[in-house]
Symmetry: C2
Subunit: 179 residues, 2 copies
DNA sequence: CAATAAATATAATGATCGTTCTATATAAAG
DNA sequence: CTTTATATAGAACGATCATTATATTTATTG
């Protein structure tokens, strides 16, 4: 609705993802966004709430991204999801999974809103995959999730394109050729 | 050498891993370690240097851990490494890869000593695997690394024992049965 | 015991943190 | 124009941050 609010979310997401949640102060966010501090507090009750809203926004974008790679071919559902995840790793400058990073920084308190938001996000992704093909076992879903998480993590230290090629190759070997 | 120095490293590693590097202040470290702040600065020039030393200590422990799972059976080298990695995930309360977490928090400056220490660590692990079996292709090493990173990341939101079982199963399928 | 080194307590530094208050200014809607 | 909501600048809050200075005490070693 509000343009200022969206600007704040965009700038905050960029800075949080680049430097971490504790490392970035609100001052740096409002400076880069060129917005007054009281405007930020008018839209968000606290820094924690801003972080939660940033994560929710990012989750929505990620899910929309995956949706673009859906297919009717039941044999290639997971393969196409892998291609979607890989394409997204290429699109964003990959610095790891922002959700896991958020959880890590706030995991000292498991009841913290940020931690709960991340837990819900990961559940949502698993349920999404499960719903696409109800014939998948829970083990298969876990193994596919392991590939997605592994590619995201490995891309932090190795060339992203090369990592994506391995993700797709492994998905083929584990879930297409040997289904 | 110094007992105080080692105490500081142990306490700092625990707190950094539990809450993150920016989230933990030196005050909390010296309080929990029951050591004066000037003693810390007597052993470490700065917080950054303390972090680097914590990481180097952790790398040494991880490598020693993997070494305990080495075998002469060339067919099962990677499988045993996977079992070692899995066993370590079970041992430590897994909150993700501490090295990647460190890199993420300091990646804003790629020349930062912490970032370089992490990059070197990841290179060392890959070289270690490469040296164990020179017949492995670079793609195979990358794919195995993807499995290790994936299991570490997935264990942050899913049951660690279950994740470890998947890691071993996937390693068997990709690198033993179908080598 | 004397000499050297290591560790201590305490306080100060200047900076930044998240958050709140006050008061003014701009914009939208009646 | 007048009302109402939104955004602004700027200062203040108490707390904490990493780091340094000073001065005292404890351990170690010759």
């Amino acid at each position: 609705m509000s343009k200022k609010r969206e600007t704040l979310l965009i700038v905050a997401e960029k800075l949080f993802y680049e430097h971490g949640f504790h490392a970035i102060g609100l001052k740096q966010i409002i400076t880069e966004a060129d917005i007054a501090i009281m405007t930020l507090y008018n839209h968000f009750a606290s820094k924690d709430e801003l972080i939660v809203e940033v994560l929710k926004r990012r989750e929505q974008q990620y899910m929309e991204y995956l949706h673009r790679f859906l297919t009717d071919d039941r044999e290639a559902i997971l393969l196409n999801l892998a291609k979607g995840h890989a394409q997204r790793l290429m699109d964003i400058q990959s610095r790891g999974c922002m959700f896991l990073r958020a959880k890590e920084e706030f995991a000292g308190d498991p009841t913290h809103p940020v931690v709960q938001t991340v837990n819900r996000h990961k559940e949502n992704v698993m349920k999404f995959i499960e719903q696409l093909d109800s014939s998948l076992t829970s083990q298969q879903i876990l193994q596919f999730s392991l590939l997605l998480e592994g590619s995201t993590a490995l891309a932090e230290t190795e060339d992203t394109a090369t990592v994506c090629a391995q993700l797709i190759d492994m998905t083929e070997k584990l879930f297409v050729r040997a289904a």
